[in-house]
Homo-oligomer: 679 residues x 2
């Protein structure tokens, strides 16, 4: 029961921190700015079911421009509800009430609820489950309804949604007259499982599990894979496919090429993959509670671990970004991780990194292990946080690690396909749920602390209230103070993550000899320690800046600078001499990094200084054009020609701070590694 | 008038050499082996216009499997005619006669001549110029007819072809009732220009020039780009496109996104680009002769140079291979040149490197400059020659620089789309034409020698015969002896290329102080020297092995070994310990390379020895799975961890010799560069 969206309500960010500041900006800036975008783009009124000029516009087959509008509204409602509970706003409240009223009125008599298939193409319902996001939209509506009910304590949105889910349960399933389908863009699976957890609706659980288990069944519908079958029904030639499909029939784009249990590597569209696996992890969480045993659960967990490992070890950027391939917004070959489109690719969509966080959070519940929390924190502070400016009003959809003249490091207020901005809003809204999980019973309780910040959690076990307050200046300092209030009759265990980059270094005050980092990567404080020391301090070591490299097989030959969970970058705003997007800027791992405390618009951060140089291309510069594809290497030169290098004092800022200060949009994370040839 | 297909007849390979050996293998092995393939696959009989089971088979839209059959037959006829003149073979002669008789009988009354659109889809003629290779097939038939007439001295094939060209000239052109089209796969342009040169058919010239000048006209047909217009005619939705199209409407795939004169970089399908630019160069050659002035010829040459330079400097592999992208068999972004598909791509199709040779050969006539001949030689000895085994009976279509488990370094007897094998056959058949160009008049003559081997050329100027014999053991030795016979009344100038890798080093014997490499990269021997020294010897320097590197922006961080025009590779046949396709094998440019004379099946070659090592992945090896995407770099380690490296004695063979000795298909050209971090 520990999904972020449930837990956040018991967590309060009750002091200054980087995370609370980001939440504050979303609450104050993003919620209203996006409401305005919804109004301006026509989304706000779409459930009123009137014709909109966008519906007439040309679009690349088969996805009309308005296809995702339902989900944009739904995500905004969900996110807005999270923030309303903390800070009532009459304008936001009124908007939600109007939207809910529109949604209720938009529902068809049989429970169906989708704008495009009601207004634009009413006869084509369920005709293209693979591409048309019908079930994806339904999923987000379900999530909105859950958040709405939590805040409003009424069923005004839940009622139509429950009735829509009843319709879906009739339409999809293993029965003879049911469609043996599963959504092209997963999302409804995890939404249905949230619904089950919120309401106990067993039909919702069953439908989610059906979607997951049926996926990739090569003979699921009349002896065909469902997507092939529905293509035949539509009369499409089998080579007709969306623009981003690598080729006709490449069902790995949707993770539907084989059943999930048989998938050996993570493939295709990154967001789809993350949402799908999050739901698989949810099934395993529910299996663990015993409420809904999952047959073959060890195999399901093995599949999750296999795909997680493939992703983290071979298909993830240093920033936690995933997806090198722009064409299908997804995973490329193992170790294919160029930093920018001018070097062959880099997509790293915001929603994909949010998806990694969702998956990691569920996996932590399946098996407490710091590897999941490490990656979750990496994504949060880098791949995700970099996608929003400091005021919470401008965004990035794609998060490259290096800019180029064609793809500068710049932000937009909104996007035509605008999944990312409202996704950031609901993520920050529910952020408290990612910090820790907790529970207990039978005279015991526990809190597993995954992320450090300043925040408090209260929860009840056996009618007792446990309160844990953490106070820190994370990620700038590694010191975290804890204050626990737990009744003497309850044995409370607290587990504290030691991040991988700390390499086991930590101190505890008051100290305790028996306390060690265990095999899960957590420091376990048993009830006796907690009872004796209701206030204690954890000092995480290894917070000084360090160099990190991507796997050698990536052929990047770069070094990046990191500090704690933060990955740093260079920008032209600080390094104004740059003209080549730092393509020739080189650093050495033996250089000394110095820290400087800094502030930007009231946001404190640690800036880093480091001496580097600009590579001199030497002979390559003087080469006559069009003569030969390579060049002779004179024995034993420097690979980076040190003698001719121009020294540069480099300034690094956290990657999440990029594109906040104007400039020319030049930015890079991994810099050329300064090496020389050796024998 | 110096296209290889015209010149080769005046050249004889009259002594042992690597090139004459390859030609011999093609003559003895390939011609018959491919004739057998034509029989076995049904191609041989296709002009008999009977139904073939292949016509019923499913295929990816819109290209049926038999679409290219006409061209396979045509290329075989062309190549076979080249060899017949040297070595009569009754079986080959009989086959050509039968095929020509079939082709004559297959022609429609109006001159139309295409198997697919006669047998399979007779009503769809000219309905898809973009994708259906109708004009491509016509082009190859034209080239076959020229070669056929040259050998047979009759018009049995030329007659129907001329009549087909007349039909084409009616159908395509600027007139109100003509189609303002140009072929999706260029080929016919260069074929028509060859036809013009062979027969003086001005209509052929005009049609070729129309195709070239009209290409990319955004409003060419009823205000639309022709391909968009014909799509509308067919009623295709505009997103319907062949599998290899990167996206709908991406006309850069066909080099038709803008007119050629406005193209700033080389894009799209590599073979198409080369065939197209070859024809542009042909137009410039004809402009130079004055027979057919080309308006804006400086702009056309500027476009050719711009695209050539972009290709050679930023989109060509060390082997002369072009095309990193498998999906569209063509060019990727600047400097995107991974060595193998497991590293993100590498196509380097055989026909594309043959196309580079064709283009270079024409450019040499437009402007004598060794850069064109250098690249031509690089392609010949590497990207092209590597595509055929030693016996001339097995081939590669794709020529990666590094194998992987998924794409091993292996050969096939034939391919479903089998453009490459017969293309190799006709290239080797006409190889004499690439060695040199020559001409003269008004008491003068010249020979420009581009490639060194053992061969003789005879040609007549002002009723005088000039004979030049070159004798060498190229590419194993840099010494070339020349014997000239030229009448005393004719002033004969001889220009000898000094390859770029020789860096200007050469000696001439007898020596002559005033002889230097001029700005074109050629040593010019004036008539006085030639008259005085009818026998002389050129010694090209710099033939010892050297290291070469791709451009630093390729992010390859590799070194390759070269010797003269040859690029070398490592194979598991010699380095049997390899298990990882040499992914971790590292070499240093300071290592000593030793040569060893060797032989394989009677083919002498120089084998190279070099000490390298296997990179130890160190900490990466022991890393826990799924923990983080990067790893910390401890200050000042070796980038390649030298301490733990396993030394390896490496054996290198010429890249063209790969995949001739069984083995496990493991091969690599560029090896990791052994470096260490520096400050």
């Amino acid at each position: 029961m520990s999904n972020p969206q449930f837990l956040f309500r018991q967590t309060s960010f009750n002091g200054p921190s980087l995370l609370s500041d980001r939440r504050e900006k979303v609450r104050r800036g993003t919620v209203k700015a996006q409401l305005q975008q919804l109004h301006e783009t026509g989304r706000y009124d779409c459930f009123k079911l009137q014709w909109h000029p966008t519906y007439d516009e040309e679009y690349p087959w088969p996805v009309p421009k308005s296809l995702f509008w339902d989900s944009d509204i739904a995500k905004w409602i969900e996110g807005a509800c999270y923030f309303l509970s903390e800070d009532y706003d009459p304008e936001v409240d009124a908007a939600i009430r109007e939207l809910v009223s529109d949604i209720r009125a938009a529902q068809r008599e049989d429970g169906y609820l989708n704008v495009y298939y009601t207004v634009v193409a009413p006869k084509e319902r369920w005709s293209n489950i693979r591409d048309m996001h019908e079930l994806y939209n339904a999923g987000h509506l379900i999530e909105a309804a859950i958040a709405h009910r939590e805040y409003y304590r009424n069923d005004l949105l839940m009622e139509p949604i429950e009735s829509y889910v009843q319709l879906l349960s009739k339409v999809f399933g293993p029965g003879k007259d049911q469609r043996h389908a599963y959504p092209g863009h997963p999302e409804i699976e995890l939404a249905l499982l949230r619904l089950y957890k919120a309401t106990g609706d067993q039909a919702a659980y069953n439908l989610a599990r059906y979607f997951i288990e049926e996926r990739g069944n090569a003979t699921g519908q009349d002896g065909l894979l469902y997507y092939d079958w529905e293509e035949k029904q539509r009369g499409d030639p089998h080579w007709l496919r969306p623009n981003h499909y690598p080729e006709a029939g490449s069902h790995w784009y949707n993770q539907a090429h084989v059943p999930i249990l048989e998938q050996s590597s993570i493939e295709g569209h990154a967001v789809r993959a993350m949402y799908l696996l999050t739901a698989v992890a949810d099934l395993l969480c529910l299996d663990k509670t015993g409420s809904n045993p999952l047959p073959e659960s060890p195999q399901w967990y093995a599949a999750l671990r296999r795909l997680w490992n493939n992703m983290v070890d071979k298909k993830m950027y240093l920033t936690g970004g995933i997806g090198a391939m722009k064409q299908w917004e997804g995973f490329g070959a193992d170790y294919f991780l160029p930093q920018g489109t001018d070097e062959g690719g880099c997509y790293a969509e915001t929603c994909a990194s949010i998806g990694v966080m969702m998956l990691a959070e569920r996996l932590l519940e399946v098996e407490l292990n710091s590897r999941y929390a490490d990656v979750m924190e990496l994504c949060l502070y880098n791949g995700v946080m970099t996608a929003m400016n400091l005021s919470g009003t401008a965004f990035t959809y794609i998060n490259q690690l290096a800019s180029s003249d064609k793809d500068k490091s710049l932000r937009c207020d909104w996007f035509e396909v605008s999944c990312c901005p409202p996704n950031l809003m609901r993520l920050f809204g529910s952020l408290g749920g990612y910090l820790w999980d907790y529970g207990g019973g039978n005279g015991e309780s526990f809190v597993n602390v995954h992320l450090y910040t300043t925040a408090k959690v209260d929860f009840s076990i056996d009618r007792h209230t446990v309160t844990l307050q953490q106070t820190s200046n994370w990620p700038w300092e590694g010191r975290v103070r804890f204050d626990v209030q737990t009744p003497p009759t309850l044995k409370t265990t607290i587990r504290l993550r030691v991040p991988g980059w700390a390499k086991g270094r930590f101190t505890l005050e008051p100290s305790c000899e028996s306390v060690k980092v265990n095999e899960t990567g957590y420091v376990v404080l048993h009830a006796c320690y907690v009872t004796e020391h209701p206030t204690f301090t954890l000092q995480i070591g290894g917070m000084e800046p360090r160099f990190v490299e991507p796997h050698p097989y990536t052929n990047q030959n770069t070094l990046a600078v990191a500090r704690g969970p933060l990955i740093y970058c260079v920008e032209d705003a600080d390094n104004s001499w740059v003209v080549d997007h730092f393509k020739n800027t080189a650093i050495s791992s033996s250089a000394k990094i110095t820290e400087e405390k800094h502030e930007l618009d009231g946001n404190p951060f640690v800036l880093l200084h480091l001496s580097g140089s600009e590579r001199c291309l030497g002979a390559w510069h003087d080469k006559r054009e069009g003569t030969e594809p390579g060049a002779e290497v004179v024995p034993s030169p420097a690979a980076v020609d040190i003698a001719d290098d121009v020294p540069r004092d480099l300034v690094f800022v956290p990657y999440y701070l990029r594109a906040n200060r104007g400039g020319r949009g030049q930015m890079r994370v991994g810099l050329l590694r300064k090496t020389k040839d050796c024998c």
